[in-house]
């Protein structure tokens, strides 16, 4: 049953102060990678009517090639944490 508004109402994001670049990151110029990936899942409340799962994710991605830009700059939210199960029954599971 649809109860939530489909179109999200997003507030402007407040980035934290300070240097966003971590000195430990090593970028390979010809290879894309995820430098930092942080996922926090917080299950809040106890009664079913109030119970909810809150997902917060932060990623730092280095895009090395145009091909990777085209492939990974588009994604879906909520994201799949289990692409094998979420993609079951769809064509080309493996091929």
């Amino acid at each position: 049953m649809s109860a939530q508004p489909i179109t999200p109402v997003l507030q402007p994001h407040a980035w934290p102060d300070g240097d966003p670049w971590a000195r430990s990151w090593q970028v390979e110029p010809d290879r894309s990678s995820i430098l930092e990936d942080e996922l926090v899942i917080h299950v809040r409340n106890l009664q079913p009517r109030f119970l909810a799962l809150f997902f917060h994710r932060r990623k730092v991605i280095h895009f090395a090639t145009q091909e990777d830009v085209a492939r990974f700059s588009r994604f879906t939210l909520p994201e799949s944490l289990d692409p094998l199960y979420d993609g079951r029954g769809r064509p080309t599971v493996r091929t």
Binding site: V43, F54, F63, R94
Partner: protein
């Protein structure tokens, strides 16, 4: 379309992206967003689940982008009103969050990753899987933390099995929800049943009713029609030959019935009842009543049975810590057979499986068992699994023989094509020889080959089809307009093996990038023979390709043979004797796939000089 979890009523709270630079400066990234609705079929309804499609614009190669997002997934928006029977009219995420997994890897390598799950002990969260984690507890609060460094980017590798070869976490989530409480039948004492038992009891709640209906002495009209169907189908088979009666009934449904996906019923536009008598009289099996129809059918012939809930082995393996939400799981019916259990799959598509027949992705996998005892017991048992049988060894074979009468004819040639299928090639492909669609989750080359070099479809004639393992099928057809030679400007002809091969394997991959073992679908022997006859005598330009490549569990031989100036033969044979290929054999597997795709074989011929 990317895989998505299809949760309901997700609220996106935050989304932002910026390009960051080593000098500490940053610039905002333009983010565009669209929303897609997808209808999810639940136990009794269709529900919309929306997904936000995010596109980071203004990104260029070399950019380092920091992304952050937050969203909320409610457990049950309608909890106040849906604790009883109405739960299934308004299902929410309580049906989808009970058992899930986190796969830590991605298609890109991950340098550093932390995943944290904060919850209350009263949420009934149990962690499984194959990953190490750190736990911190403070009274009822628990924080579970996974940390990884240098994860390879391998989640998108073809024919890999990430859950068998990579760490992952599974999460069972059973909060204190009134719907999971039930009452002991004798004492009336309430007790809590695990979610999986609740789901299966809901799905099979009418089993006892069907048993009683089967024993009615004065049947109503629908039961009379149903009984007439059963009696007509098993007429002449003595009651003591119970397995033959089961097989006959099932195979008739598999072969003759049509399948209805009941989309109108799930959308609440068709509010009719199942009407089993009408279903079997019309030769129809309905999605909303697949379980009920089979339960009723088996009880009608006094056959006790169990059910087994299956999982595609390419997705993962069921265990006590990961059972999936189960609402959408497919099921088999099992009846006692002399040498084990005979499994029956109620038809769910245009092609039915014969009694005992399973596609490769269920063979040998653990399935969750539900039987009469578990259905009624007051002491909830742990989940019980059974290993489904494996296919007959050496049973999966296919031979495709093509004869082209005059391959050098300018407007295409006539010819013939014959196939022999058995095992998985029959299970997954035989429908295509009757112009029925094949299972869309498997490689399309399990289906019938096309006419070489022509888009035209020529129907097949099924010569024989067996419903006994290994389910052999023979078919043939005449060809027209087949083109297997490309004329070159200098008067010679090129024959490319890519036009001739039809092996059901993925395209070759870069072995240098491979991180995970490769899994063949199943053991098989797949042979393709193409005989080309020429009107004019031909001679060879260059050499004839001849390949033989092998890995630890597979080999392929592929060769062209100029039998005589009027006859060129092509043969490609792929033999797979095991399923798992270790990473050390990645280069060999890639070479096999390259040959199987026909990438390595091209032949040039020219008419013998002096011929017109």
């Amino acid at each position: 379309m990317a895989a998505r979890p299809l949760w309901f009523n997700v609220r996106l709270d935050d989304l932002a992206a910026r390009v960051i630079r080593p000098d500490g400066t940053w610039a905002a990234v333009d983010v565009s967003m669209a929303t897609e609705l997808e209808q999810v079929r639940t136990l009794r309804t269709m529900e919309p689940a929306w997904t936000h499609m995010v596109d980071l614009r203004t990104i260029a190669p070399g950019d380092v982008v920091e992304l952050t997002w937050s969203y909320m997934v409610p457990y049950d928006m309608n909890a106040d009103r849906t604790q009883g029977w109405r739960a299934f009219a308004w299902p929410d995420n309580w049906t989808r969050t009970t058992s899930w997994r986190i796969l830590f890897h991605h298609a890109l390598p991950i340098k550093h990753q932390t995943v944290r799950l904060d919850h209350d002990l009263r949420h009934g969260i149990v962690i499984g899987g194959t990953s190490f984690y750190d736990v911190q507890e403070d009274r009822n609060k628990r924080s579970i933390r996974w940390e990884h460094h240098d994860l390879p980017g391998c989640l998108d590798e073809v024919n890999a099995d990430p859950t068998a070869d990579l760490p992952y976490a599974s999460i069972t989530f059973e909060p204190d929800d009134q719907r999971y409480w039930t009452f002991d039948r004798l004492s009336g004492v309430p007790y809590r049943q695990p979610y999986w038992l609740y789901v299966l009891r809901m799905r099979e709640q009418r089993a006892f009713w069907w048993r009683r209906v089967a024993q009615k002495n004065v049947p109503d009209k629908q039961n009379q029609l149903f009984n007439d169907f059963v009696d007509a189908t098993i007429a002449g088979i003595p009651a003591k030959d119970r397995l033959r009666r089961v097989v006959t009934l099932h195979n008739r449904i598999a072969e003759e019935f049509t399948y209805s996906n009941d989309s109108l019923w799930y959308q609440d536009r068709d509010q009719g009842l199942a009407r089993f008598g009408d279903q079997v009289t019309d030769g129809r099996i309905r999605e909303m009543a697949r379980y009920d129809l089979y339960a009723k059918l088996l009880y009608a012939i006094q056959e006790n049975h169990a059910t087994a809930y299956v999982m595609d082995r390419r997705v993962g393996k069921l265990d006590a810590r990961w059972l999936t939400p189960l609402w959408e799981s497919d099921l088999l019916f099992g009846v006692d057979a002399a040498n084990g259990v005979l499994w029956l799959y109620p038809k769910r598509g245009p092609v039915g499986y014969w009694a005992g027949e399973l596609p490769f992705y269920w063979e040998g996998t653990p399935a969750l068992v539900m039987n009469e005892r578990i259905r009624i017991t007051d002491a909830p048992p742990p989940p019980l699994f059974v290993d489904l049988p494996k296919g007959m060894k050496g049973g999966t074979q296919r031979v495709i023989e093509t004869t082209i009468d005059t391959a050098d004819a300018p407007n295409g040639s006539t010819g013939t094509q014959r196939v022999l299928l058995s095992g998985q090639f029959s299970t997954l492909g035989r429908g295509s020889y009757e112009q029925l669609p094949v299972d869309r989750t498997v490689h399309p080359n399990y289906a019938a080959p096309t006419v070489p070099g022509s888009p035209r479809h020529v129907p097949w004639k099924i010569l024989s089809s067996s419903h006994v393992a290994p389910y052999r099928v023979q078919a043939e057809r005449g060809l027209a307009e087949a083109r297997v030679m490309e004329p070159d400007l200098d008067g010679s002809y090129t024959i490319d093996a890519r036009m001739l091969v039809h092996h059901a394997v993925p395209p070759p991959f870069d072995p240098g990038m491979r991180e995970l073992p490769f899994y063949w679908d199943c053991q098989q022997d797949d042979r393709i023979i193409v005989d080309r006859h020429f009107e004019r005598p031909m001679e060879l330009v260059g050499t004839l390709p001849d390949h033989w490549v092998s890995s630890s569990h597979a080999s392929i031989s592929q060769r062209f043979t100029l039998v005589d100036p009027h006859h060129l033969q092509f043969e490609s044979r792929l033999v797979v004797s095991g399923e798992r290929e270790e990473v050390t054999f990645a280069a060999d597997v890639a070479a096999i796939l390259r040959v199987a795709a026909g990438e390595a074989s091209v032949v040039r011929l020219r008419p013998v000089s002096g011929t017109p």
